[in-house]
């Protein structure tokens, strides 16, 4: 394979710098020792990270986001795993339509989903509740949970299952002892990707969150709307650190290109 020429490498370098710059600048400003927005030219300081503790609404929002992400991804899997097994194994009428329906939250703009859920949950008397947030997040993370489980279920070797059946295993035992362990890497990666999606969602959640149930992105967004100061950069730096950790774990256990390759296919 031919190598890249000098021009290509210059383009590549500039491209990577532009891609990284906004993220890097947020992380750098977070360490400023000054009381205003500035790059930490006079040494690094953790003062703005310590300041987060004085803003209980950020800390509370963080726990809301964490609980919401963990729980909604788990609930999504409870619905997605059986659906993925059915779609992977059976050819039945309506199969394609069902798959399209289950992946449709990827195609519907989140602002539309936010409005639809706001209207729906307000009429149902659940407006602004944590339960409403969970249900809404289950819907938006469902395609990610489904897709990775589906990939695992499609690539699975069925002979092990058949052996188990011939030895008398059936139903729940078969699923718990044979099928689930075999598709577990896909299920766990599906959970992780679903978690990240839930943890990062702003557009839909901003419609549903009430003062007690604000998630971290919503809290950050509302804060930025009023003013931008080093505090919000230190909160952002924490969020970036958390996502990076999840990202590296996901890459180690599953391969980031495999996780994301599914994501880029939304148009098809």
């Amino acid at each position: 394979m031919s190598r890249n020429g000098p021009l290509a490498l210059i383009f590549h370098t500039v491209f990577v710098i532009i891609m990284v710059a906004p993220i890097l600048v947020v992380c750098l400003v977070a360490f400023t020792p000054e009381g205003f927005l500035s790059l930490p030219t006079n040494g690094f300081s953790l003062r703005w990270f310590r300041t987060i503790a004085n803003y209980p609404e950020f800390v509370h929002a963080f726990w809301v986001s964490l609980g919401l992400g963990a729980l909604s991804s788990l609930v999504a899997l409870v619905f997605a795993v059986p659906a993925a097994l059915a779609i992977a194994r059976y050819r039945f009428r309506g199969r394609d339509a069902l798959a399209a329906l289950f992946l449709s939250p990827l195609m519907i703009p989140h602002v539309v989903l936010g409005i639809a859920f706001l209207r729906f949950f307000t009429s149902a008397g659940l407006g602004g509740s944590f339960a409403a947030l969970i249900i809404a997040h289950v819907i938006i993370v469902f395609p990610f949970a489904l897709r990775l489980t589906l990939a695992a279920a499609t690539g699975m070797d069925r002979t092990v299952e058949m052996a188990a059946v011939s030895l008398g295993a059936g139903g729940w035992t078969l699923f718990r002892r044979v099928t689930l362990p075999l598709i577990l890497p896909g299920v766990i990666s599906g959970w992780a990707l679903a978690f990240i999606q839930s943890f990062d969602d702003l557009t839909m959640t901003v419609f549903l969150a009430a003062p007690g149930t604000e998630t971290l992105p919503v809290r950050m967004f509302l804060y930025i709307q009023d003013n931008i100061d080093p505090l919000v950069t230190s909160v952002s730096a924490c969020v970036i650190a958390i996502t990076m950790t999840a990202l590296i774990l996901l890459d180690r256990f599953y391969g980031l290109d495999r996780v994301l390759a599914g994501k880029g296919d939304t148009g098809r």
Binding site: S2, R3, N4, A8, F11, H12, V16, M19, P22, I23, L24, V25, V26, L37, V78, F79, P82, A83, A86, Y90, F92, R95, L101, M107, I108, P109, V111, V112, I115, A116, F117, R119, F120, S123, I135, A136, F142, I196, L202, T203, V206, F207, P217, M220, F221, I224, Q225, S236, I240, T243, A246, L247, L256, D257, L260, K263, G264, T266, G267, R268
Partner: protein
Amino acid sequence: MSMAAEERSLRAPWALTAPALMLFVGVLLIPLAMTVMLSFHDWGQYKGIEAVFILKNWHEIATDPYFAEMFWRTFRIAILTTLLTALLGAPEAYILNRMSGRWKSFFLLVILGPLLISVVARTLGWALLFGGNNGLVNKLLMSLGVMRSPIPFMFTETGMIIALAHVMMPFMVLSVWAALQRLDPQIENAAMSLGAGPATIIRRIIMPQIIPGVLSGAIIVFSLSASAFATPAIIGGRRLKVAATLAYDEFLNTLNWPLGAAVATLLLVALVLIVIGSNALIERRYAEVFR
């Protein structure tokens, strides 16, 4: 297969998908239908939402030039963002694909990773870089001699497009990257051995094969940019409205839910038509590539 087993294999897929299907009908399709219905309801400052069937909101959107201007701005930003990602993302994917194993996976992680980092954090980064007239971007451009006086990025469409292109770039790189994976590197070598220069190879061999990838990436980037909320809201501020931020305002500030629902419905319908239409076009034009 015995009769009982056969019957079970007919029923099994439905039993397995039933919970998810009920969930989707109950809390996705019904809320969406309610939103469409809401767009036909009446609203008044003092009476609130009135459950009647009128075309008032749709009439307002169709006749008030404010909405035409806002939708035009939304789609203009989405189109320019798509062009920018295609122009920069496609060559980058190509360069990335020619790197050796270790560098390739490292830079793939660096470029695709931001996809999973909070959009709020990424847009905040651009807000910091843009700053006011003496933001970092302006300082850099002026010291490089690209321009003499600072240009405003915050609260402008230019700034919105740059930040949006950054947010959407991974989708484009990913899509072109996927198309490049299907490409046989030997064809390039064959063309070279037959005497084709680099320009000819790119124009005659590479371009035709990655165009479908660019186009499917463009569909994703366009539909996500047209409905983007966080970036236009933070960079555009309160004045420069796009469809998503306008709907947000109607719902949470003005409280005119029926009008907001009409804006959202129109955005959804327009996007679905554009996406399905261009998908069909691409698949017909490049049927052989998708086979």
